[in-house]
């Protein structure tokens, strides 16, 4: 058997008539950092709760470390969980919070002391051990919450949007810390988020979920460059991808009287002519002299622009359809300016119009 840390087989979950998870399969190798990403209501937190054993599944199996844990209590699954609201026990000190799980598991006192001390050292919360959660900052609380999973020596860490309650700067700091923790501990980690930056930066693999199903499972690079569906392409990337409406023909991608050659494009299942979307990321659009060298280029008029510091987002029209692209933030533009833009069609993504699957 391969060393799969977590295996989910044909998982179903419904609340009454509402199907939340449908025949879901997922294999997570030992030591992987997997991010479940999706809009709210897609079932990502529900899936995490199923893995944790906090929700009873309607069908299918959950295996952790080659053990069928489908009917096991949460505490017997070898998982630790970190919640969005931290969920620290308010009446206990930090030390009490860390040792609660160990006391329930009847771990000897000496060993509890050792493990708490070790976790406190890893997370650098030794000075806080005697404080109550109310006397901690948001970042410190989240560290304690991670520590609670850490002391129990679990196989799998489950994170349920752990950084969503923190402000932007702290979130970035803790994100790096979680990554560092993963490098150090090398545990399997499953991390639920709706923040694509967290997903891209942390994940070994990302599973993009929609309506209870996994739309695409792959490395951040694959997800970004070769999205399998239009939904994934739309969801990942900020500012979001442009979609041009047209037809795929033998010559290329035809829209509004012109045909864009698709020579360099690697088709997933062979080129099937028909109505299609062409997706181009705003950051893959070149301007000026570079545009001239691209397989496709056009002259456009600046309609609106949004300066964002490093970049300026320019809104315009290509082939009669709205289009936006990134420009170096130092480049001066004004509404009404004429500009030459171009892009490499091999970096674009083509999607079938009806199935929205990648071509």
């Amino acid at each position: 058997m391969t060393a799969n840390s977590v295996e989910i087989k044909n998982l179903d979950l419904s609340f009454g008539a509402v199907e939340v998870l449908k025949n879901l399969n997922l294999e997570i190798p030992e030591g992987e950092f997997l991010v479940l990403l999706g809009a709210s209501g897609c079932g990502k937190s529900t899936l995490l709760n199923c893995i944790a054993g906090l929700l009873e599944v309607t069908g299918g199996q959950i295996w952790i470390k080659d053990r069928n844990v489908t009917w096991e209590e949460p505490s017997h699954r070898g998982i630790g969980m970190v919640f969005q609201s931290y969920a620290l026990y308010p009446q206990m000190s930090v030390k009490g919070n860390l040792s609660f799980g160990l006391k329930n598991a009847k771990v000897p006192k000496v060993e509890i002391e050792e493990r708490v001390a070790r976790a406190a050292e890893i997370l650098q919360i030794q000075p806080l051990l005697d404080r109550k959660p109310a006397a901690l900052s948001g970042g410190q609380r989240q560290r304690v919450a991670i520590g609670r999973a850490l002391v129990r020596d679990v196989d799998v860490f489950l994170f349920d949007e752990p950084l969503s309650n923190l402000d932007a700067k702290l979130r970035a700091d803790l994100r790096v810390e979680i990554k560092r923790l993963h490098h150090k501990l090398k545990n399997t980690m499953i991390y639920v988020t709706h923040d694509q930056i967290e997903a891209m930066t942390l994940a070994d693999r990302i599973a993009i979920m929609r309506a209870g199903k996994i739309q695409q499972l792959g490395s951040p690079d694959e997800i970004y460059n070769r999205p399998k569906t239009k939904y994934v392409a739309e969801f990942i990337g900020s500012p979001s991808m442009n979609f041009l409406n047209g037809d795929l023909t033998a010559e290329g991608f035809a829209m509004d009287g012109e045909t864009v050659p698709m020579q360099g494009y690697k088709f997933a299942n062979g080129a099937a002519p028909g109505p299609a979307w062409m997706g181009i990321r705003p950051e893959h659009v070149a301007t000026g002299d570079q545009a001239q060298a691209m397989p496709y280029n056009a002259d456009v008029t600046v309609e609106l622009f949004e300066p964002m510091g490093a970049d300026t987002l320019v809104w315009t029209t290509v082939a009669g359809q709205p289009f936006h692209f990134n420009l170096d933030g130092q480049h001066k533009v004004a509404s009404g300016d004429q500009m030459k833009i171009g892009f490499d069609t091999s970096r674009s993504s083509l999607f079938d119009k009806s199935s929205e699957a990648r071509l």
Binding site: L54, E73, Y89, F100
Partner: protein
Amino acid sequence: MANPAVMSQTAAGFDAVSRQLEGPQGPKPRKRFSRANIFIYGTLIVVAFYYALPLYVMIVTSLKGMPEIRLGNIFSPPVEITFEPWVKAWSQACTGLNCDGLSRGFWNSVQITVPSVIISILIASVNGYALANWRFKGADTFFTILIFGAFIPYQVMLYPIVIILREIGLYGTLWGLVIVHTIFGMPILTLLFRNYFTSLPEELFKAARVDGARFWGIYFQIMLPMSLPIFVVAMIIQVTGIWNDFLFGVVYTKPDTYPMTVQLNNIVNSVQGVKEYNVNMAATILTGLVPLTIYFVSGKLFVRGIAAGAVKG
């Protein structure tokens, strides 16, 4: 009303622009005798007076001797203060065959109230916890039926309960009344506890489960320490409700085991002899003293608990 902080900020901004101030500035002056104030405080004083006056009459009358009462000036303060009526109400007033005053009823009421309050709160808190956090099969149906119980008039159930108590041999005993009070307190207390536990963050409960705590572990170690206010609310509701109860007391007990309220009624309504208003007043105050004390001691917690339940539940 104008916020002084905002006002002064605006004034500061104005200052920075023009460097000279004209017209209104700083906190807006308030009139002490504005029309709104007169209306609000006037109403409050009238209402307070309306409620305080009977209490005043009771206290004053209870400190007078009978000759003074016969003069008929019920609002006048006592000329000669006497505590005789209080002593008589507590230890000598006659109800039926017993002439040992309210003290017998007081101890009966204590013996009824203390176990009823403790048992009903213990059971209801576990009920509420189970309904809020362990969504067992049929939980909603169970809860609906329980709440429905709160809407059934007590009178409907009086006679069936008499038969039940007789059959189990508890009719006329204090423990029979304790059981009745415990059961009748269940719907409203369960609702109270369920709403409170539902308002606590669900993730705490999940975290405790991941940490290996079970039903009782979570209840005692996580939930209980967080629920002091709601326990105080439940205690006040139960103590006042059970202490002031008359109907169940008069139906399910015998003269020997009458609670204080029933005995008070018997003293006040006794038809033989002279009406001793001063003794009646003293007896009434004595009977009301227990709920009053509970309010004064835990009033703040009561308000906090009610507010917590109201906002989050």
